[in-house]
Symmetry: C2
Subunit: 336 residues, 2 copies
């Protein structure tokens, strides 16, 4: 296949919250396939806060995310259709999710970091959210990292976000009491009324600390932290003895990593807490169990996927910035 | 038994590092025994940094250390002899260690938090150090909390202190490579030359960061943290992927708990670290294994107990303050 294609590249390193001029849409030739490769026309891009970490020199290193170079395509997950193939395992018409598809209209893949999806199980956007990296992060974080028990009282920050909404719904499906922390009355109503969380606490409210104490009563066994920052510090005061904290993300700090400090470790010592960071990719042995359980919960109505969908490649930077500012409900997805 | 006895009580709450006038020696009547109690004449007091936490309103709460009230006897471990008994399980002449014996010449016990000791196994001072709370904290922290493996590269802070010296020697006895962090050339020479640590890094040296990087090479699998503060922050940069941090103490921060912050959690996320706080008392099921293993290592010469002994009850506050300032080698003990 020949012709032109569009992609979004990093124009400059963001200082603090990214702005639209950190990004640039460029046109490029569609590359020629080599043996063992196939070409995917992306239909959807799934946005995730972790792309922000790659737009800096911090957070990089052998063990974590490769930084995106200036001029490089922005990292992101895509769903699309194989339109040309020189790979024996993939045929034209296959629907795939590319973990590193990038913010672009077409992607060349050699089959690595590629998942074949079955659209009879769920519509395409679910494969980037509830059944994609967001759901998988929630599932492995709760089960493989946090060792969730049905008797746990669970708290989650960014509770209306793509991962947080899944965390709370999975924990509810497993029988736990769930406290969600979110920003603003609308999000709090959503997680409590629509998703069935037991408590919702608005971290932007003036009475946040006392509302959190009322909701948690110092008895949180498992805190799933997507946010870091001041919410995490407040949560340390609400942990139960021997509680576990699962560190999935630090969205409150991604824009100021170089200056970030953290809370005192005194509660870790005095309450004998366990704090564990994780990356989904280390837990891929859970994938089949994840697909089985989350599909079942979705079909039973215990998990209600929600996506914030915007249209057009050119909308991607603004949607991404909005997500970092907490404007989204559920998974933010760009439809191409 | 009647008569007078002396004890050291808290006169005022320390602000920062305690000073001698925070303490007061008072004289009291020897209390009358009730049924089920026995009276111990203390021969030794073992000093520990955790007593400092109790001299504040921070660090208290249902799950941790009860604060020492003004006028209350300072918390501490003692070794002594039963001199009077109305308890069927303890006879006059028994030697016991009292976990909460306190800074006093005699203590009434009902047998709780009491360990009978056999002086044919080890001399009395060892029962407050290598075979006491310090050794037990090191042992359970490494094994039950840190899940030490013979292939681990282990680092320990306050490495010449009572707990730290035991941590390094136990880890060496188990086959690990061990890096110790201590303050000053004399302590570094002690842990490397006398105790056999592989590397010693002086945190007071101007080249601390680069010396630490040379000794650790970013490959520390298990960090046993007695100190907190700046040493902990530096160690986060030296952890291996999937490394474990055992939080035993925070001596660098006990004097300024209310203002303390901690390091950024980014390395916890990016390196997928596990951080666990612990208190020895939650791991008493390890006691028999601890006694067996540490006795064997001592008799084989793999563990060399060391105590800093001072004489006289009146010397206790100064010895305690010196220990908090890092003046001690090994376990600080007051001989009465």
């Amino acid at each position: 296949m020949s012709g032109k294609t569009r992609r979004i590249v990093l124009k400059s390193l963001p200082k603090g919250l990214p702005t639209p001029d950190n990004f640039e849409i460029v046109e490029a030739d569609i590359p020629v396939l080599r043996d063992g490769e196939f070409l995917v026309r992306n239909a959807y891009i799934g946005l995730a806060p972790s792309s922000r970490i790659r737009m800096s020199e911090l957070g990089s290193g052998k063990s974590y995310a490769e930084p995106t170079p200036i001029g490089g395509v922005i990292y992101g997950q895509t769903l699309g259709t194989v339109v040309e193939t020189r790979h024996p395992g993939y045929a034209v018409g296959d629907t795939v999710v590319l973990t590193a598809g990038g913010w672009q209209e077409v992607t060349i893949s050699d089959g690595s970091l590629t998942t074949r999806v079955d659209l009879s199980v769920a519509p395409p956007t679910h494969w980037l959210g509830a059944l994609g990296v967001s759901g998988l992060s929630a599932y492995v974080g709760l089960i493989d990292v946090g060792h969730i028990q049905p008797t746990d009282c669970v708290a989650v920050s960014a509770a209306s976000g793509a991962v947080g909404a899944m965390v709370g719904q999975i924990a509810k499906a497993m029988g736990c009491r769930v406290v969600g922390i979110a920003g603003g009355a609308e999000k709090c109503a959503y997680i409590k009324d629509e998703l069935g969380f037991d408590e919702a606490v608005d971290y932007r409210a003036a009475d946040f600390e006392s509302a959190l104490a009322n909701a948690c009563a110092g008895e949180i066994d498992l805190f799933f932290d997507n946010v870091g920052g001041a919410v995490r510090t407040a949560m340390l005061g609400q942990m139960n003895t021997f509680g576990r904290i699962v560190v999935c993300g630090m969205i409150a700090e991604y824009n100021s990593l170089s200056s970030a400090t953290g809370p005192s470790w005194l509660p870790i010592l005095s309450k004998r807490l366990t704090v564990r960071g994780f990356l989904m990719r280390d837990h891929m042995h859970m994938y089949d169990a994840f697909m089985r359980d989350v599909s079942n919960w979705m079909h039973a109505g215990a998990i209600k996927p929600r996506e914030d969908i915007v249209d057009g490649l050119e909308s991607t930077p603004e949607a991404f910035i909005g997500m970092l500012r907490g404007k989204n409900f559920g998974k933010t997805i760009v439809r191409l």
